[in-house]
């Protein structure tokens, strides 16, 4: 059992507070992804779990034990760094065995572990090479291998794939997912790539300015973002936001888009009963808007400005009641309307999100 419990964690560098009263409970065997834009404190949080930086306040428990002040080696962790951080003066084999030799492990046990891991990661052919003689993908495999030979309970990854090209990144992503399914260990993974987050995570923690904005499964993060930040951060192109007013009238709930039509949102699953209504933001993902409205109950006007083809998908950019909007659809529709075309988009009440305009919180 290796759950990680982070309680009221505060981290300051000098007078700069990077993490504030952060709480996070990671279950045994979970794949948690810390997602957020640059500088939001993801690496800081990961390094705190690893014991590489001093915490200002709060506790870090691993497998129930207080490890707040424990040395990195005493935490049962393995770590993979963005820069690989392979020891340049020694071979791949030397890199893999470095920690084991320092722990005075018997030679045959070291050999056994290196054999197992290098087979799993397919790095056997390079064992005698130095890191400088490896490609980026090979280096990252070795870096993962170096973490794996430690037989840790928890693996920490700090943007391990961000230095690789797109194709290799996709390959290694799948390998990492398989790896997690094979060994079933707890993994904490930092990235600002939302595709990695969506595909790998059992749960995603979306961070902003040192605060976790939402901790939920990828589906929940995507379908039911907890606030405007999460809604805007996840998804590409980003979610459409229309500002307007919510009001209740005659047993119905209506959202009036500023300068646009009124939309019946009675069927929306409000988190709490709507009181007075008020200023609000309606969020709709581009792929939940349909060019061929069919029998969808809700409608929006749309004026095309640009169309973009991205291979399998295409995107129309334009405006709805003067507010920016985008629509995504399968390229097989072969739609390429000229600028200025007016059209009607359909969508279903199940796919929309509503946020309080002031606080940004999901309604």
């Amino acid at each position: 059992m290796a759950e990680v419990s982070i309680e009221n964690l505060d981290i300051q560098f000098g007078s700069v507070s990077v993490l504030k009263d952060l709480n996070l409970l990671i279950e045994d065997g979970e794949f948690i992804v810390l997602l957020g834009s640059s500088g939001c404190g993801k690496s800081t949080l990961l390094n705190a779990v690893a014991g590489l930086i001093d915490v200002t306040g709060g506790k870090i428990r691993i497998a129930g034990e207080d490890k707040t002040d424990a040395e990195p080696k005493d935490r049962g962790i393995g770590m993979v760094f963005q820069s690989y951080a392979l020891y340049p003066q020694t071979t791949v084999e030397g890199n893999l065995s470095f920690g084991l030799r320092m722990a005075n492990m018997p030679k045959d046990e070291i050999q056994r572990r290196i054999a197992r891991v290098s087979k799993m990661l397919q790095i056997e052919p390079y064992l005698k090479r130095r890191p400088a003689a490896l490609s980026g993908g090979q280096r990252q495999r070795v870096a993962i291998g170096r973490a794996l030979v430690r037989d840790a309970d928890i693996y920490l990854f700090d943007e391990p794939l961000s230095n690789l090209d797109a194709k290799l990144r996709a390959e290694l992503r799948v390998e990492l997912k398989e790896l997690h399914q094979t060994i079933g260990k707890t993994m904490i993974y930092v990235t600002h790539d939302q595709v990695e987050a969506m595909t790998l995570a059992t749960r995603i923690a979306v961070m902003q300015n040192g605060v976790i904005q939402q901790l939920a499964s990828p589906e929940d993060i995507y379908e039911r973002p907890a606030n405007l930040f999460v809604a805007g951060f996840v998804g590409s192109p980003g979610m459409n936001f229309f500002s307007g007013r919510l009001r209740a009238e005659a047993g119905k709930t209506v959202f009036a888009i500023q300068g646009g039509p009124e939309i019946d949102v009675t069927d929306y699953a409000f988190a709490a009963p709507l009181g007075q209504g008020g200023e609000a933001v309606l969020g709709l993902r581009p792929e939940h808007l349909f060019v061929e409205a069919g029998n969808l109950p809700l409608r929006l006007p749309f004026t095309v400005s640009v169309s973009e083809s991205m291979g399998a998908d295409s995107v129309l950019w334009g405006t709805t009641a003067g507010q920016k909007a985008s629509v995504r659809f399968g390229s097989e529709l072969k739609l390429n309307p000229p600028r200025g075309t007016e059209m009607e988009l359909g969508f279903s009440p199940a796919t929309l999100s509503l946020f309080d305009a002031k606080s940004g919180v999901r309604l």
Binding site: A50, T90, R150
Partner: protein, 287 residues
């Protein structure tokens, strides 16, 4: 104007400059060598540039074995040994201390690391002379004044600022993740230093060895003040030979003695110049 002929002109200019510069520095050296190979009689009657008519090593032998350095007349040989005995331990110790301190400051960042570093930098710019009298008192308090250990200690202490600066800056260029990885792998302070950091340090170690060994070898002031009469380094003896006031000046012996004293740093520079430039240029280690 074709760019080709321009290039040739530029090249000629560069070589002309290099030849003149080399001649400028080599001329005195040439004069020293030819003078050291002449007899005093010949020196008196020929131009300083003249090639010796009957080259002789007599002056060299005198300089090494029997020139008078004050009261004794044993030549430079004693000083050579003293200089080696001072240079080797002082170089090794100051480099080791500088490397460990630089490593601690840049990777372990103890509280007050910034202040320690600042103090060292400031210390590097204070003229030595300021410290001499207090240091004489301090060393005699602990019984190290006029001893080999004392002069070695002095060189180690005065070498610290530059050594720490050198190593700290080199280590600051190493990726910090490397250090973090070694900590996760279970390394402590010394294990990481010995197994990870030192093996990455040869470029800067070479620079440090060159800087320290030549600097310590060339030192005159500390040797004169702190070493004591039994441990006087070669430079002090050279000064005694050259400045001895008795009789006529033996230019040939003086020249030979000077070249002998300068030979060690000269050889170090010539042998390691390539490594020196490489070490200075070595940036972050990629891996």
């Amino acid at each position: 104007m074709s760019s080709k002929s321009e290039k040739i002109m530029a090249r000629i200019g560069v070589y002309a400059f290099l030849v003149i510069a080399a001649a400028f520095f080599l001329m005195p050296f040439y004069v020293m060598i030819v003078t050291s190979l002449k007899t005093m009689d010949e020196i008196r009657v020929t131009s300083i540039f003249a090639v010796p008519s009957a080259p002789t090593l007599e002056a060299w032998i005198t300089a090494w074995q029997s020139a008078c350095t004050g009261l004794k007349c044993n030549g430079l040989s004693v000083g050579f040994l003293n200089s080696v005995l001072i240079m080797v331990p002082a170089t090794v110790l100051s480099i080791l201390l500088g490397a460990v301190t630089g490593y601690a400051l840049s990777f372990w960042r103890p509280r007050g690391a910034g202040i320690i570093f600042g103090v060292l930098i400031v210390a590097a710019f204070i003229p030595y002379q300021v410290f001499i009298y207090p240091l004489v008192r301090m060393l005699s308090q602990v019984g190290l004044y006029n001893s080999l250990a004392g002069i070695v200690a002095i060189h180690v202490i005065f070498g610290m600022p530059i050594m720490v600066l050198l190593f700290r800056n080199y280590y600051a260029g190493l990726p910090r993740d490397l250090f973090s990885a070694a900590r996760v792998d279970g390394g402590g302070f010394w294990v990481i230093f010995v197994r990870l950091i030192l093996p990455l340090s040869p470029p800067i170690l070479i620079v440090a060895v060159i800087l320290q060994s030549t600097h310590i070898w060339n030192d005159f002031l500390f040797g004169l003040v702190f070493a004591g009469s039994d441990n006087q380094p070669m430079t002090v003896l050279l000064n005694n030979i050259v400045n001895s006031t008795q009789g006529e000046k033996a230019y040939n012996v003086n020249m030979a003695a000077t070249i002998l004293t300068a030979a060690v740093p000269l050889i170090i520079y010539l042998a390691s110049g390539r490594w020196f430039v490489r070490g200075i240029a070595a940036g972050a280690v990629k891996g």
